[in-house]
């Protein structure tokens, strides 16, 4: 198996660049892609170990734009597919990408279960509050009153709160960022990638065609406020008491309940064994019990027991 040692040439953004994205000019997803490249460049993950997986949607075309092993799967099922890759190939770095429709609507159940199982992979959601690829239908994060082709008089259903859903689901790393804040986006991507277990980053990524201005309230250049979460430094200072403890689930829910545009940064982070680790413990102890027997030997003794 190849390692970084065998490919001494450092991984560059140029190596990672594939087809030019088919996204509309001005789409927030361009910045997400550029930030992803920069973080991979920084972390120097071996090129062949990068595996990007997505479902269906504008943002789900991500794997075509990354020159790495990739999968463009079906709508809503990127996470279970990525789970199969992650669980059977611990040597890989598995990334899943998608939008709000893919992740919170048609794939909503899979998100809960991938989070619950704490599958070791990084999931980046480009949330634009609208269905873009199918040209402006209501999405699970569209706010009430949003006018779309399926809600011409304004959306009436309460939107999903992604951060609450992720914390409740059991994701062991949950962060929120904004596609116009590249430095912040890179910081949380890096932390998410380095986190062992199921890490998710919700990126507010504007659809300039079907929901222009959706995230101006979180963009200082458009008159909004990009309010960062201050994490505890554990320095016993008076100010520190007010800061956010990322391991506190209730504090994460309180942050998630803030009025839009809310705060950005790491909402929740916990060190919980991943499904990958727990399954491996079982596999290893079982293999030990069998004395690492070959398949022929295992099957022979099984057949003998049925005579």
């Amino acid at each position: 198996m190849s390692t970084a040692a065998e490919s001494p040439k450092p991984l560059t953004k140029k190596d990672l660049t594939a087809d030019h994205p088919t996204w509309c000019p001005g789409c927030g997803d361009f910045a997400v892609l550029a930030s992803f490249f920069k973080v991979l460049e920084k972390l120097q993950i071996p090129h062949e170990k990068i595996c990007t997986i997505a479902g269906i949607g504008c943002s789900s075309r991500f794997p075509y734009f990354v020159n790495g092993h990739g999968v463009h799967f079906i709508h809503g099922r990127a996470l279970p597919f990525a789970t199969g890759v992650s669980l059977s190939r611990p040597d890989l770095h598995v990334f899943a990408f998608g939008g709000d429709g893919d992740g919170y609507s048609i794939g909503g159940n899979h998100l809960d279960h991938a989070a619950r199982k704490n599958v070791n992979l990084t999931y980046i959601v480009m949330d634009n509050f609208v269905y873009g690829l199918t040209k402006k239908q209501t999405s699970p994060t569209s706010p009430k009153g949003f006018k779309s082709k399926t809600d011409p008089t304004g959306a009436i259903d309460q939107p999903i709160n992604p951060m609450k859903k992720l914390v409740y689901g059991g994701a062991s790393f949950v962060a929120r960022t904004h596609a116009t804040q590249v430095k912040h986006m890179m910081e949380v991507f890096e932390r998410a990638i380095l986190h062992p277990g199921f890490s998710v980053v919700e990126v507010l990524s504007e659809c300039v065609i079907f929901y222009p201005g959706a995230f101006d309230d979180g963009n200082p250049r458009k008159g909004g406020t990009f309010d960062l979460i201050e994490e505890k430094k554990w320095d016993n200072s008076a100010e520190d008491a007010e800061r956010h403890d990322v391991s506190d689930e209730n504090a994460a829910y309180r942050l998630a309940s803030l009025q839009y545009p809310g705060k950005f940064g790491v909402f929740y982070e916990t060190d919980r064994p991943s499904k990958n680790q727990l399954e491996q413990i079982w596999i290893d102890s079982t293999r030990e019990k069998t004395g690492n027997a070959s398949a022929v030997d295992l099957l022979s003794s099984r057949f003998a027991s049925m005579k």
Partner: protein, 605 residues
């Protein structure tokens, strides 16, 4: 099949006691009770005994779809020669309750023997063509166990009776009982043996009026493997190199996934219970994409949910073994009954032109072999391979010779070799070869596997010419496989009045029906199709030799009067002599039903 007695009289009950021991070639024993009585356990023990006595065996069971309890039967067909069906009628019926008696006395063949529990069966038919033997099974069991164990142990009492009546090898039976119950606490085994001994010692001989002995088996002296179809399937998957899989529970598929969950870690692999059917197939495809031979499975309703992802598997050309343990449909239908109504779903159930391989095992041993074959085909042709087994095979126990593991077992190898500049996953002139993630691409260009139409390199393309070419490519690779298939073996007359065509678990009963029809002077034969999509080429040259082609299936005749396989055969061969025999009562075909229905189609001589 009626027991053939060595005495002149074919009637068991009227065999003269003076003729001494009546030797039986075959015996069909039906235990009718409730599902919690453990009749499956003793049925399984008898099947295991047959495997150890060079006999053939086939079992048949019904289970209620309720959570606990309810009427249940277990039928064991033991034979010294070939046993092809679980038996149309029983030679011996054990009725534990009044409802068991009422429901199953009709299954007793004329002249058969009904042993009933006098503690629970109050009314018996006065005009039975056969012999009633009343035994206080419940109270005798309670007495044997010291009155403390309620009614537990009736099954072992019955096993003791069977061992006594058929002069089975007591030592072997006791060995099997000890193996079955020995792992539990000592009381369990002690009580089991007390009940068994009480049954074995019960003075039943006088009541039967005649002594029986099951003929020695004529099969191989080597002990056979005795197991059910789902277990054989699991072992076949392991032998074929499956190391990863994912599924969601559904009857009667669940016992396969339960076993894989426990077995795979022994082989260094993993089986994951997914949150739903959609996730299960997606995860299995994730395993396949990662370079492994993977499996998913379900029953009809679950397969419906998997169909979108399976269409992706055809488009992206990912290898995957997909098991469908068919049950009665549509919808929740008859979850614990047998049916063969998912053939069209397996072949055509996904959207788009979606060619894939569909296989069906013929018996329990074949569940093993077909699973091995499915793994090989999935790898070779890089496509989904369906295996259509069914409820009957899932739970039926048969004895068969141990497969040649040294030749069949494949240790899977993960290919992460460096791919050169010439790498093309989908060459127009060759078979699909993916580069699993982790493989270095020496040209620096990495592949994206997609469900969009794509060119030879896997790049998405909406070019009409490319879609045409790639559709042809996906079709032609399956046709190339068809060209490798041998024509099915003809069993029976080389030409004649009728050729019976079957698939799946009806293999045995159809062969037995052919034997009976030929014994009665008919010129008939049968062929069995293990490969249903693609089917072997050249069937028309076989059909040409018969006046009728009768396709026997456990599904409905549909709007146009033809079952699912018959419809496909008519579409392919445009042969009006292809006719259908169908049924959807949730039960296996009895041999005599096939005989009668084929005769009705063919007409009188």
């Amino acid at each position: 099949m009626s027991p053939s007695a060595t005495s002149d009289s074919p009637e068991l009950a009227s065999s003269p006691a003076s003729s001494g021991v009546t030797e039986l070639q075959n015996a069909v024993i039906r235990f009718a009770g409730n599902s919690q009585d453990g009749i499956q356990t003793i049925g399984g023990l008898l099947a295991r005994l047959a495997g150890r006595s060079s006999r053939e065996v086939m079992t048949y069971m019904t289970i209620p779809s309720t959570i606990s309890g309810g009427p249940s039967i277990f039928q064991v067909h033991l034979g010294s020669g070939e046993v092809l069906s679980a038996g149309d009628e029983s030679d011996f019926l054990f009725a534990f309750y009044q409802h068991s008696y009422d429901s199953h006395i009709g299954s007793l063949r004329p002249g058969g023997i009904c042993i009933y529990d006098t503690d629970n069966v109050q009314e018996v038919k006065s005009d039975l063509d056969g012999l009633h033997v009343g035994i206080p099974i419940t109270s005798a069991t309670v007495e044997a166990l010291g009155g403390s164990s309620r009614e537990r142990g009736k099954n072992l009492f019955a096993l003791g009776l069977v061992t006594q009546i058929f002069k089975l090898n007591k030592e072997k039976v006791v060995g099997l009982v000890s193996k079955q119950f020995g792992g539990k606490n000592e009381d369990v085994l002690r009580n089991a043996m007390l009940a068994f001994d009480a049954g074995f010692a019960y003075p039943v001989g006088d009541l039967l009026k005649v002594e029986y002995e099951l003929q020695q088996g004529r099969g191989s002296a080597v002990d056979k493997v005795t197991t059910d179809g789902n277990t054989a399937m699991v072992l076949g998957l392991l032998a074929g190199g499956v190391r990863y899989g994912s599924a969601y529970p559904i009857t009667p598929w669940s016992t396969i996934m339960e076993q894989l969950r426990v077995e795979l870690p022994k082989y260094g692999g993993l089986f994951v219970q997914a949150e739903d059917e959609l996730a299960a197939v997606a995860m299995a495809l994730g395993f396949a994409y990662s370079g492994h031979v993977a499996v998913t499975g379900s029953s009809g309703p679950g397969l419906s949910l998997k169909m979108e992802a399976l269409s992706y598997a055809t488009m992206a050309e990912l290898p995957l073994v997909v098991i469908n343990v068919q049950r009665g449909g549509p919808s929740t239908g008859l979850p614990t009954s047998v049916e063969q109504s998912d053939l069209m779903q397996a072949i055509y159930g996904s959207h788009g032109d979606c060619p894939r391989i569909v296989l069906a095992p013929k018996n329990v041993a074949d569940c093993f072999y077909i699973a091995v074959e499915a793994c090989e085909l999935a790898k070779k042709y890089s496509c989904p391979v369906f295996v259509l087994t069914d409820m009957a095979l899932a739970s039926r126990i048969e004895a068969f010779e141990q497969p040649d593991l040294a030749t069949l077992v494949h240790e899977p190898v993960l290919d992460l070799s460096t791919r050169g500049e010439e790498f093309k996953p989908y060459p127009l002139d060759g078979l699909t070869r993916h580069a699993a993630p982790g493989s270095v691409m020496s040209a620096g260009k990495y592949p994206v596997v997609t469900g969009l139409e794509h060119d030879e390199w896997g790049h998405p393309s909406a070019n009409p010419g490319i879609h045409q070419k790639m559709t042809e490519r996906r079709r032609e690779k399956i046709k190339a496989f068809a060209a490798t298939l041998p024509k099915p073996e003809i069993y029976g007359d080389e030409s004649g009045e009728a050729l019976i065509v079957g698939w799946g678990s009806t293999w045995g009963p159809i062969r037995e029906a052919v034997e009976r029809l030929r014994e009665s002077g008919r010129k008939v034969a049968c062929i069995h199709l293990r490969h249903l999509n693609p089917m072997p080429n050249g069937l028309e040259t076989i059909f040409a030799n018969y006046q009728n082609v009768v396709v026997v299936e456990m599904n409905d005749e549909g709007l146009y009067g033809y079952g699912q396989l018959a419809t496909l055969l008519r579409a392919r061969h445009c042969d009006p002599k292809i006719r259908s025999v169908c049924k959807t009562d949730g039960l296996n075909y009895r041999v005599r039903d096939i005989v009668a229905r084929v005769e009705a189609v063919v007409g009188t001589v």
